[in-house]
Assembly symmetry: C2
DNA sequence: TGCCAGACCAAGCGCTTGCTTGGTAGTGTA
DNA sequence: TACACTACCAAGCAAGCGCTTGGTCTGGCA
């Protein structure tokens, strides 16, 4: 890609990260962290993918862990915003629930796939203090889910305690990044419906 | 613990691993890999927990990765056997399905919790050749699941394609090791029923 | 009693790691 | 022209890593 072409595409990259020098580092780091894990990825790997020297990374980030944290924060912010919009736009509780599932699947197997995998698999690499910071943002995201699930329960749409259901769905959905193939025979919409079918109270489906 | 007490408990430890010198290393390694991840755990950490020098580890294992591989293989063998027995003992397809879920939850939040977490989170640390070896064993385990799910579908007990359902359940179940607390308000039996309720065809529950 | 094999120690090698340092090129502003 | 600022390079340091080496101790068997 030429420098001109690169500077023209200036808003969002593959995973909701800007095309600034900083953004390019985050984008490269997210891919590498996903491919090899955080610890197996060296700062030299990241620098090489960006096309700079390893020392130059520290002009943009104070430490390797700051890069990891920034990847996580960016992807949570991006996905929280998307989730909130999708829920606001959906007409009823059932539609809101479907929107949540669709949104989260989109995050995990679609545009923010790389960074989301990092969030799950490299969590333990963050220091406790940084974990706490990231969890704070994460809880906003989770609250959107819990509000809808609580409403769904009041309406008798679901049978299971919202906290428990949310956690089972988190697992089912996030695991899909290990197997789901967008080019495969199953469409995302089909997968959304399947997951929705698992979540919703049996009798409401008859 | 005295040496006498240790040698008396001679068969299985916390995670289905023997109480030989080799077994003690595997047991310590499983805990540490789970607590800190594979890469962040040094051979010195493992040796210290066992109470030997780091170099002495290499009298029992050729490399650090061999330790990881051995942890994975042992836990898969142990759980495959348990799964097979549980399925054989269950009377009908519905009972077999319930047994599968119960067994897997037991593996993940019960006795082999540590090693199972390692299996999920440190997978990428294995070389491709070792991944292939471990996958070979894993496929035996998965086949037990698929056989039951295929039968369940023929009987109209489930609605979803076995492959897809298995993967959604894998995620939902394995994620529970991040949140389920055996001392908490929810019993394992309740959790099993909840998961079973999600798997089984809606109309069959009415 | 002599011997051997398994289990372990003490020391350290060679390499990679995250990160620091001192300096340079290019750009915008006054 | 002078200055400031951002982005970057080239070189390398100190620490920590997986693993090796040569040797010691001990229990069991011939």
């Amino acid at each position: 890609m030429t420098a001109t072409a690169r500077s023209r595409r200036k808003t969002l990259q593959v995973n909701g990260i800007e095309d600034s020098p900083r953004g390019k580092v985050l984008s490269a780091a997210a891919s590498l962290f996903r491919e090899q894990g955080y610890e197996r990825t060296t700062v030299r790997d990241i620098a090489a993918r960006v096309g700079i020297q390893s020392g130059s990374l520290f002009h943009h980030f104070a430490s390797k862990e700051e890069i990891l944290k920034a990847v996580m924060i960016d992807v949570i912010r991006f996905n929280t915003e998307r989730l909130q919009h999708a829920v606001a736009a959906a007409p009823g509780t059932r539609a809101k629930l479907r929107a949540l599932i669709e949104c989260e699947l989109q995050s995990i197997i679609g545009d923010t796939r790389e960074a989301m995998a990092v969030l799950v698999y490299s969590w333990a690499a963050l220091s406790p203090a940084n974990q706490k910071d990231v969890l704070g943002l994460r809880s906003v995201y989770e609250q959107v889910w819990l509000d809808v699930l609580t409403a769904a329960r009041k309406e008798g749409l679901i049978d299971v305690e919202p906290f428990v259901l949310r956690r089972l769905l988190t697992g089912a959905i996030s695991w899909s990044n290990t197997w789901y193939d967008p080019q495969g025979p199953m469409s995302i919409a089909q997968l959304v419906d399947t997951v929705l079918g698992m979540a919703i109270r049996p009798s409401k489906e008859c």
